[in-house]
């Protein structure tokens, strides 16, 4: 007896275990709900970090609502009490409108082409059903009465479903809301297909449409008793959730791809911009060099008399020395000591003439700007030498105060000489313009170290000065106060100084002369001696 009893107990417990294993819906629905909630949570976090991504929020709400619907549906499957069944159907209308509205918001955000009017109409109808569900006299919007439930076998499980029930006539409003939603989704689908965009969103639309078609059909078939199965079909919403999540993920992947592409494009754009800028700068430098050359040649033309004289001096000395040597050699006895001295002077004067020619050639040459270490004292000295005879002709004295041991600057010596030459010649003309029979004050050239980083070179005259209104204007091209001249001198000088990283400036009080000067940055790494 005892053995028979224990065998029966074993059989019962095995049967229970098999029943438990077979009742998989009780595990599956919470698991699917959990999965749906997890996906929703992920997108909720995405939205929290990127508040502009409203599709993520819509998805999170939809997934949460679906999870809630699944759990409510599980309760309807397990109960055999019509009142509890009715209560659960009633309760399902809390998450269902959230799901409904979230779906529309999700599609609207991802597609960007939904008809807002249609969406609002669908939402309004859905909210109306919700209101009727909760505020109406009937237990819920589905049924006026559920008299009995039936227990049916479904996929190896025993589940409850509608037995005898009286439908609620307001339920047709729910159908209307669903139809409006379907119309909205169809409209979006058509629009996307026409444009040939949004494959992932199209897929979501297809799945939603398929689900609604199935859900409506299934509900009708179950209610009519054609099919034995549960009244709800919320588990299938998992498919919708997965497709929606994939669309969002694809969106993120696409966004990443687009971002990489944009970065690539940005890099190309920067490269192109750099190339264009370089070409522009090269063209501007070329233009500046050509203009500087033009202005320089014009200025040297004005100085031609003085430049010829500068060359004439050593030539005159050479000729006189050579003819003197001829006479000394012709003496009896020849004065060879004097001839030797003469030859030394001839060599020195020839070298001097060579230097003058080299200097002139450099000034006339049309070269690209060459950046080298430049000794400011040397270029000031050479310019003073160039204009020396011109100043003598005009009866203008010049005084130079050059600080000893000025550091070198980096630049184009010829162009910097040109700037100085231009300022000096302007000063001469200012002095001549101010002449009224009085004593001419000398022009003063000054070169000093302004601070650790800057060398300042300035030329002061006691001419009529520059009116305040003209102080900026005179640096513009083709602006001149002279009867002759192109009005390029100061404009070109300014562009040269600025190309050297410096600044050309003027200080003047009308009637009290003017000081024009330029600052140049000291060479960062002084040239090795």
């Amino acid at each position: 007896m005892a053995a028979a009893s224990s065998r029966r107990q074993l059989q019962d417990s095995t049967a229970q275990a098999i029943d438990g294993l077979m009742n998989w819906i009780e595990f599956a629905l919470p698991m699917l709900a959990g999965a749906s909630l997890t996906l929703g949570l992920v997108q909720a976090m995405v939205w929290l970090r990127h508040r502009g991504q409203w599709a993520s929020l819509a998805f999170a709400l939809a997934a949460s609502a679906i999870a809630a619907v699944m759990l409510i549906e599980l309760a309807t499957l397990r109960t055999d009490d019509p009142a509890v069944f009715q209560r659960m159907v009633w309760l399902a209308h809390l998450p269902l409108p959230v799901l409904f509205i979230s779906l529309i918001a999700y599609i609207d955000q991802l597609s960007g082409c939904g008809r807002r009017g249609l969406a609002l109409a669908a939402i309004a109808a859905r909210l109306a059903t919700t209101a009727i569900n909760f505020l109406g006299s009937a237990p819920n919007i589905h049924f006026l009465e559920v008299k009995s439930l039936r227990q049916v076998e479904f996929l190896g499980n025993t589940v409850s479903t509608i037995g005898e029930a009286t439908p609620n006539p307001w339920y047709s409003l729910t159908m209307l809301a669903n139809l409006l939603l379907v119309a909205y989704v169809l409209d979006v689908l058509v629009a996307l297909r026409r444009r040939g965009v949004g494959i992932d969103v199209q897929r979501v639309c297809w799945v939603i449409l398929a689900f609604y078609a199935f859900a409506v059909g299934w509900g009708t078939l179950v209610t009519e008793g054609v099919v034995q199965g549960p009244y709800g079909s919320s588990s299938l919403w998992v498919v919708v959730v997965v497709v929606m999540a994939y669309a969002l993920g694809a969106d993120l992947i696409n966004a990443r791809k687009t971002e990489l592409r944009l970065r690539d494009l940005e890099a190309h754009a920067q490269e192109y911009e750099r190339s264009v800028r370089e070409r522009f700068e090269q063209a501007a430098a070329l233009h500046r060099d050509e203009l500087a050359h033009l202005s320089r040649v014009a200025m040297l033309g004005e100085l031609s008399g003085s430049l010829v004289h500068e060359l004439n001096q050593p030539l005159a000395a050479i000729l006189s020395n050579a003819q003197a040597a001829q006479r000394f050699i012709g003496r009896e006895p020849p004065d060879l000591a004097e001839v030797r001295n003469i030859l030394e002077d001839i060599v020195a004067n020839d070298r001097r003439a060579g230097q003058v020619i080299a200097r002139l050639r450099a000034l006339f040459r049309k070269d690209r700007s060459q950046q080298r270490d430049v000794d400011v004292r040397q270029i000031v000295g050479e310019v003073l030498q160039l204009i020396r005879n011109d100043l003598l002709n005009r009866g203008i004295a010049i005084e130079a105060a050059l600080e000893d041991e000025l550091p070198v600057v980096t630049g184009d010596a010829v162009q910097l000489q040109q700037v100085l030459l231009n300022l000096a010649m302007n000063a001469c003309e200012a002095v001549e313009a101010a002449e009224a029979g009085g004593v001419r004050e000398p022009i003063r050239v000054r070169a000093r170290r302004k601070d650790a980083q800057i060398i300042e070179v300035s030329i002061s005259d006691c001419g009529p000065g520059v009116p305040e209104a003209e102080l900026e204007r005179i640096f513009r091209p083709f602006i001149t106060t002279k009867a002759k001249g192109m009005g390029l001198g100061l404009a070109v000088s300014r562009s040269i100084v600025e190309a050297h990283g410096g600044r050309l400036w003027v200080i003047s009080a009308p009637g009290h002369g003017a000081t024009f000067g330029f600052d140049l940055p000291v060479c960062a790494s002084p040239a090795a001696a």
């Binding site: 004289h309 001096q313 006189s320 020395n321 020195a348 004067n349 005879n389 002709n393």
Partner: protein, 126 residues
Amino acid sequence: MANRYPRVAVVDDEADVLRAMQRLLRAAGFEVEVYATGEAFLTSVKDHCPDCVLLDLHMPGISGFEVQAQLNACSCAVPVIIITGHDTASAQVRAMNGGAFGFLRKPADGDLVVSMIERAIGGSAH
């Protein structure tokens, strides 16, 4: 004058030119005195008057034109030969109107310089 070499003063601010001209004229048999400025020359004139002066026009300080004018104003009636690198017509006219004996352009031929000085003085240096 018959007992000494003719004395020629050279006034030029260019040291190289001054030295070369001094040699040339010395080789040609003149006694030469050189002055780097017009002021120095005019000061010397108060003490003694040369037989001829070779005068540059453009110099710092007093110009050749002013030297010429001051010479005309004083008792030293010395022939003046202008030698300059600035060969403008107006400068030549002004110098000649100021009583210059001759007007030479740098670089001037030495034989021409010597012969013009000799003509100015009125005889050979030898």
